[in-house]
Symmetry: C2
Subunit: 384 residues, 2 copies
Amino acid sequence: MAAYNHEPKRASNMTVNESRPFNAEPPISVLREHFVTPTDQFYIRNHAPVPVLNGSDHVVTVTGLVPLDLKLTMYQLEHDFPQATVMATLMCAGNRRTEMSKIKKVRGVPWGHAAISNAIWKGPRLQDVLLAAGVHRLESIWDTLHVEFEGVDICKDNRGYGSSIPMVKAMDPKGDTILALQMNGHQLPRDHGYPVRVIVPGYIGARSVKWLQTIRILSHESTNYFQVKDYKLFPPHVDWDVVDNWWDKAPPIQEMSVQAAICQPADGEAISPAGKYTVKGYALTGGGRRITRVDVSLDNGSSWETARLFSDLHNQKTGSHLTKWSWEFWELPVMSMPAPCTIICRAWDESCNTMPEDLKQIWNLRGVMNNSWVKINVRALSKV
Amino acid sequence: MAAYNHEPKRASNMTVNESRPFNAEPPISVLREHFVTPTDQFYIRNHAPVPVLNGSDHVVTVTGLVPLDLKLTMYQLEHDFPQATVMATLMCAGNRRTEMSKIKKVRGVPWGHAAISNAIWKGPRLQDVLLAAGVHRLESIWDTLHVEFEGVDICKDNRGYGSSIPMVKAMDPKGDTILALQMNGHQLPRDHGYPVRVIVPGYIGARSVKWLQTIRILSHESTNYFQVKDYKLFPPHVDWDVVDNWWDKAPPIQEMSVQAAICQPADGEAISPAGKYTVKGYALTGGGRRITRVDVSLDNGSSWETARLFSDLHNQKTGSHLTKWSWEFWELPVMSMPAPCTIICRAWDESCNTMPEDLKQIWNLRGVMNNSWVKINVRALSKV
């Protein structure tokens, strides 16, 4: 297809789960090596060909119920507003989807455990841009408004990929929603939204719209396909025969639930029985909440050990919010690692929520928000 | 004990779980009859004798790191600040503790499923009171500060019952933390903190300090017993032998996790087999998030049906925040109710978190935050 003649170059070590549109995740062992994911190892979730855009003539339109329509160049976004730097982990709602298909086939990009990455983003705050469009005059009705984002990438219904977030999230001074022009200190790469994308920290990646073209203030949620006919969480009993009755009943997924993965060892890896071994992984939760604990079991949940958190509760104690929107790294040193063995982990966040035990009990036909207990198997290394 | 000679009169239908100090919950069927719990049916959680106070001479002191110390009479709290009305459900962190003791004995007041109630509270916003004490001058360090509350009721270490919340929660314009002078349109009853208590919506009830005497701004969490040696959530492997190593490791419980209960039928109730029956209950979550779904299973989790929510997603759609901090009522009409039967329910909130399946896996020695799947048994009504 000619539409895919202008795709950017990608790192060769990525696992490609779908090639057109391009969807790929890094090796999970590489993911765990860097608290801030190297840009070329950041998972890529595209819904269409990557647009060919030029930052010097691209314009973002702010419209809808705003008192003042705006058309903003990239130069204006960079120079007319204070620039905020936000570390934020993005995760696809479909992270860990492949596991779900083992119960019963689900539809969607077959992600492993690495549809998640952490980066440092920089650009103007969305609230400052909206204030420039006069939204302070609407403050008494912010609770009823939604902010729709639409990209250049035409996907469904001849519209760009799009979605919306509540106005209160957009205007929350602690919400850190920005229009990112930079990723990890450099201009955004084309795969990640060049020249400008939204970053909605604490929400599923689907709301951080790339190749941003239009911001629209609405009195209702976006009617974009990806807000109303995708990224929804249904009960296990909803199948394709009845799903049409359900799209309206389920709210769009916005904040992320508690999530984790084991990055070391890899599933199926062979290790030395009874040797010293350090199990490592990541954990993440939504809404700017902190991960408070990660439990690991080597005996199928009969007993648990508590992993060391990367930040060791440092952030809660000092109140530092540097990593408020980022994942947590954890590790558990094991003195005598059994092999073969099933390793299980579960994380908890500061709202005392944890991950559900049984994948089957949260199965859903779109395979989203799989945050069941993480289970991997290791084999015993053969003796030479 | 003479200290208990001045306890208030209480409704005779309450289940008294501890008499001195007084701890009682209403019948769960009564609880589900009123979206706003009648004042005399509101669960009572006291840590000491009820203080004998006089609203006309009681004073709340605001001190600590504030630029300006304040001493505020009840008249000043009512007349010198705008009065906010907030509907908020309070729940004890020990709600559903008794179930946990079935796995292994836990310590604490033996609550059933009704250590939870909903009321309409009215009084000045905490943020307005703190602003009067000059905290705007500290805005750059709010992230590092804590607001301690201490009551008149002497409990441990010769100090009043107390705790703290983060300054950012106290100052959050959407946080709705108030100093309540009224409950359901009337002066606070003595059991609920007369003449003034804190209401911290979305947090466990333990932070809504009653008989408030002192508000103290600190650079660290409160060192009050009930902040540092109680109301903490430990992993299942922590027992009384090792707990002293754990108090500092676990953060204090603040926001509530997803919770639910079945109110009708009662556990052990006899019902007509194959008759029409409506299962009813409540659900609640923390942080101002919405309950998005309640699933009910009549076959031990093999299949689920989705209950009707009282507000039928009305609030999400209109953005109304009237019930932002209150519980959700749900019901499931069953055309042919099996009996005997185990009825299971689990709730989900808008961060896509749900309740853990297995009580054993979240067991903790203080028996807090039991939000495992709710399971009750019904018998078949004998044929006459």
